[in-house]
Symmetry: C2
Subunit: 180 residues, 2 copies
DNA sequence: ACTAACATGTAACCCGTTACATGATTAT
DNA sequence: ATAATCATGTAACGGGTTACATGTTAGT
């Protein structure tokens, strides 16, 4: 049920089309919950059927028409209730860590390569996070309540990313000391 | 395909039954890749059919018989090849962070409660990690190669956990300052 | 002419979760 | 008796990924 609530969360402040939602799920909310456009379109249909979203077609000039979805009152209520439900955390699955259990002299260089690639990917992501933080979340104490929550999620991403970079460095050092 | 390789990874050094694998997937390798016994039994069947695992029934006294699986040579080769495949990271999904996007004066106390619960869960987990580290990974430089990999995975878990605790504290402070 | 971005969908398959199902042995 | 641990499975469902499918407009 989480995707439904993630989509509704994305619609709290703005009405969006499936395409726009899919784009947003590549950034912002998508940092913590990703979804493909195929999933999103399916879920939007279900949510509209259930009465949690309404839809209207918007004519655009220079672009194809789009179908814009908005939260209905029942939708807002369902979302608010969901926040009070309890979530059990399921720790992240990471293939790279499983691969580490298979470390040997032959594959050490390849694994080091994968760690390096991940490190670079995380650097790019952190750069993005920091840009957003500087622009919109400079003084968290003064933010309106909801934005404080978004800020905390962003900080979680930043902290986790910085920690990951440190781990990569440690891993690369140890991996580098293994003789091929 | 990752579950198959996680199971084979668990069988590198010891032959195990489905039940024993399911138990192991609650700790050690399971820290980075979890699976239920239902999934494991299915996957074992498939892997045996494919010739990557062999199985033999073991009679036990005082306990029901068990079916013990071991890696075949083709299995070891498939596992070794898998390590060289490239994995793209898919960032963790976390419902709690999505909930933070819904923060308001009403639900702040509930969310703080969930953060506290997660914090305690992570404390317990870190205690376990640290115990394992102290017992088996005191001097990483001197470990045999494969164990160095396992050590790095463990360190990743520890680092990530410590970071998470710090984030929880920051989050709880900010959440506590919100007036109900 | 071609590519990128805009825009929306269906179908098949695989993976994971929940529920159901059974039965032995050991300890309290 | 009852609960806990050992031990192995099936079935239904739902979520997620990949592949397939179509069409417009704007820019090079």
């Amino acid at each position: 049920m989480a995707l439904a609530h993630a989509i509704m969360t994305a619609l709290i402040e703005d009405d969006l089309s499936g395409y726009e939602l899919a784009r947003d799920f590549e950034t912002s909310l998508g940092f913590f919950w990703q979804a493909s456009h195929q999933q999103i379109y399916q879920e939007l249909r279900k949510l509209a059927e259930r009465g949690w979203l309404n839809k209207r077609e918007v004519n655009q000039r220079g672009k194809p028409n789009k179908i814009v979805y908005g939260l209905t009152q029942p939708g807002r209520e369902a979302l608010a209730r969901w926040v009070y439900s309890s979530t059990r955390s399921r720790p992240a699955k990471d293939e790279l860590l499983v691969k580490l259990y298979n470390l040997d002299a032959d594959n050490a260089a390849h694994i080091a390569g994968e760690v390096t690639a991940r490190r670079e990917e995380m650097m790019r992501r952190l750069y993005l996070y920091e840009k957003i933080r500087r622009r919109h979340y400079g003084s968290p104490q003064t933010l309106p309540t909801r934005r404080k929550g978004v800020y905390l999620a962003l900080v979680a991403g930043i902290r986790q990313g910085e920690q990951f970079l440190a781990w990569c460095d440690e891993a690369l050092e140890l991996l580098g000391s293994i003789d091929a």
